[in-house]
Subunit: 419 residues, 2 copies
């Protein structure tokens, strides 16, 4: 494979060399470096804010929407939060070196399975500059070198953060090349980064559907697909309707922009007339637009007509698709057809319905009587999260530190040869 | 994404539908189906042999090398072996449904981690027709549907085997679409198969370096890279030289064509003069060509001169590269530079050298005082093997039934909503 981009190769080489050292770096060195980095970010917050202002000024010139401007914007308190996030990562147990099992085989060989870092992790992300510190800290804690490629809108902020992290980290004992940021934010370079086989062990995209699809299409390095969530709630006919209403409102409106928000509500036809008017009215009052099937429109005339596209869409917005279904099998068929396999929930008081749903739905997280919004590394008890995998390989659902590692077999022999 | 190939889409759709049923199929149904398939292959061995003869006749016309002809060839005893392999897979424990952990969170949610099938597994392989039955049986046992794409040289044999497996399997309770074979063996169709996102959950190539590279370059579905093994043995200065000789001879000559055979021998300079003449003479007598560094040539004048390419090459043949190195760090550097991270071994009687090697070498399997030839699903106690992963994502080293599964979080709530 021929690379035009010598700068990428240089970063890849540096990261690979650092990864060899990081793999066996003592836990306390990693933790101290993370604490030094956290302190450094706070200490240099004026500088970070001044660099962030450059990005904000450019964004304003380009007419960026205010919600996007807000995501891009850094201030003292947000930098304190970034530092606090890093301190929390430092406080987590080190996953590296855990022995997952050891067996003695008939050959006499003792075979152990141990947790080791992945090596070099690539992260491609969009406008939020806090991803820079968050992702780098998680990678370092799990013993990996990291190559970051953030969006062009945040390049000055990202450079400031990454430079401080690198300086403070190296001064505290991290090997040179542990933290790398690609300065060139062109699309061409991003695509070359996705093909950096031999240097990048795993690439994790964090961002919208467009970014994820570009990575899936272009990458030749192994990828962990994250964060596409067309999530459903199915209100089964025996559901506690009060519980159902609370769960649906929470799952749709507590934070509509995130991947674990619910996008489609499925309701059993036996109870649709009884429960839909109240639930949909409450949602409407919270500003949610309802797009329903024919039956939904009959029951709740304010609903717009849903089209095929509505069943497929992850709105990430105050919109909910609603469909009345003929029993649990129809609900399971709908979910199997349209789910992105992120988070799916049933509200029911029937034992066998709950078991059937848990068993037959193919998704990272399958809920009984709870909001889909819980799919998250912190809520699952991982203490941190690098993203939510929506593929089946390597990691599924929220990814914590363990998911940033792989295994290695270590084999103790005393002269064994194979017959 | 637009697919020209409706036949592939049809197979993908059938496999996806079958996967939904297979995911919850009782263990005894899967096992009985596998036993029926094994019986069916033996019962129809005349038919399989007659179809295999078509492939052999075509291969002969095309002037296929005799070693390749042998790999392609089936007879009564080889079909019995295929059937026996399937019976052994039926006898293994079912990985599906295993609960890997369950925790109660402060929210009151009970979160369980359970093992579930991957879904639809694609296998791309080359000339050996026994891979058809072996791979399909492993996928089915782990609850997956399978889409097979074998080489054109074996298409008649593969079709015969797959058809019998499908008929016998479906008659014994497997859902329609569980076992699929792509009849069209064109390169174009293979590339389209590698891009069958939405239908194929994981693609596993089994074959030579050319096939693996083509899959890495073209695939947009998640891939598990297998079987590239540029393996090393390092004879440390405190090694028991008799043990070292036995291990090197075993690792190089017991089966040179496989990925866990050793390709490069590294010898500490302190003992090179003492141990190399005997080891290299013994290897030469077994027909191994020696390609050595300058020092090796001085010690053993029959050695040819090794070039840079020799350190990089997986010979899969009776050839061994030999390099004299200045201590363990030089050995570790050489391995870090040239290893494909498959299997690496040290021969030593020094405790700290053994620990350093185990800790610092980045490979799927790292050995002390044993032959690299042990890296194998059977030797590791998995009972079966679909291949040896040489990537770090999802699976590393020999892959058994567990590696053909993923996990799913099941969450028991009682009305929880997220704050």
């Amino acid at each position: 494979m021929i690379f035009v981009n010598e700068n990428l190769i240089a970063k890849g080489t540096a990261a690979k060399q650092a990864a060899r050292v990081l793999a066996t770096l003592p836990t306390d060195v990693k933790n101290n470096a993370l604490l030094a980095i956290a302190g450094g970010l706070v200490k240099n917050s004026d500088y970070i804010i001044s660099q962030n202002k450059k990005d904000l000024d450019l964004a304003k010139e380009k007419g960026m929407a205010s919600a996007m401007m807000d995501r891009l914007s850094l201030n003292q308190s947000r930098i304190e939060s970034m530092a606090e996030g890093i301190r929390q990562i430092a406080a987590l147990p080190d996953p590296v070196g855990e022995v997952l099992g050891m067996v003695k085989r008939p050959s006499g060989l003792v075979i152990g399975r141990t947790r080791v870092p992945l090596g070099v992790i690539g992260i491609i992300y969009e406008s939020r500059p806090n991803v820079t510190s968050d992702a780098a800290a998680l990678c370092i804690k799990a013993g990996n070198a990291v190559i970051l490629r953030g969006g062009s809108e945040a390049i000055n902020s990202n450079l400031a953060i990454a430079n401080i992290m690198r300086q403070e980290g190296e001064a505290a004992g991290l090997p040179k090349g542990s933290i790398n940021l690609i300065e060139d934010t062109s699309r061409e370079t991003a695509v070359e980064f996705m093909k950096l086989n031999g240097y990048v062990d795993v690439l994790i995209p964090r961002g919208g559907a467009g970014l994820i699809q570009s990575v899936i299409k272009n990458a030749t390095v192994p990828v962990i697909e994250t964060g596409t969530g067309n999530c459903h709630i199915y209100i089964e006919k025996t559901a506690d309707l009060n519980m159902a209403e609370n769960i649906v409102i929470n799952a749709k409106t507590s934070r509509p922009s995130v991947c674990n928000a619910t996008e489609t509500l499925l309701v059993d036809e036996e109870i649709a007339k009884k429960c839909l008017p109240g639930i949909l009215k409450a949602l409407s009052e919270k500003g949610v637009e309802i797009r329903g099937c024919e039956m939904t429109q009959k029951i709740y005339p304010n609903a717009k007509a849903a089209t095929e596209a509505d069943w497929e869409t992850e709105y990430n917005d105050y919109i909910l698709a609603v469909k009345v279904v003929d029993g649990i099998n129809a609900a399971l068929d709908h979910i199997a057809k349209y789910s992105t396999k992120h988070s799916e929930a049933i509200v029911t008081s029937d034992y066998s319905a709950s078991q059937k749903f848990l068993s037959e739905v193919d998704a990272a997280a399958v809920y009984v009587n709870a909001s889909t919004r819980f799919t998250d590394g912190f809520e699952f008890g991982f203490g941190a999260e690098i993203g939510i995998s929506t593929q089946k390989m390597h990691a599924r659902g929220p990814m914590g530190l363990s998911e940033l590692t792989t295994i290695k077999y270590i084999i103790y022999g005393n002269g064994q040869i194979r017959k």
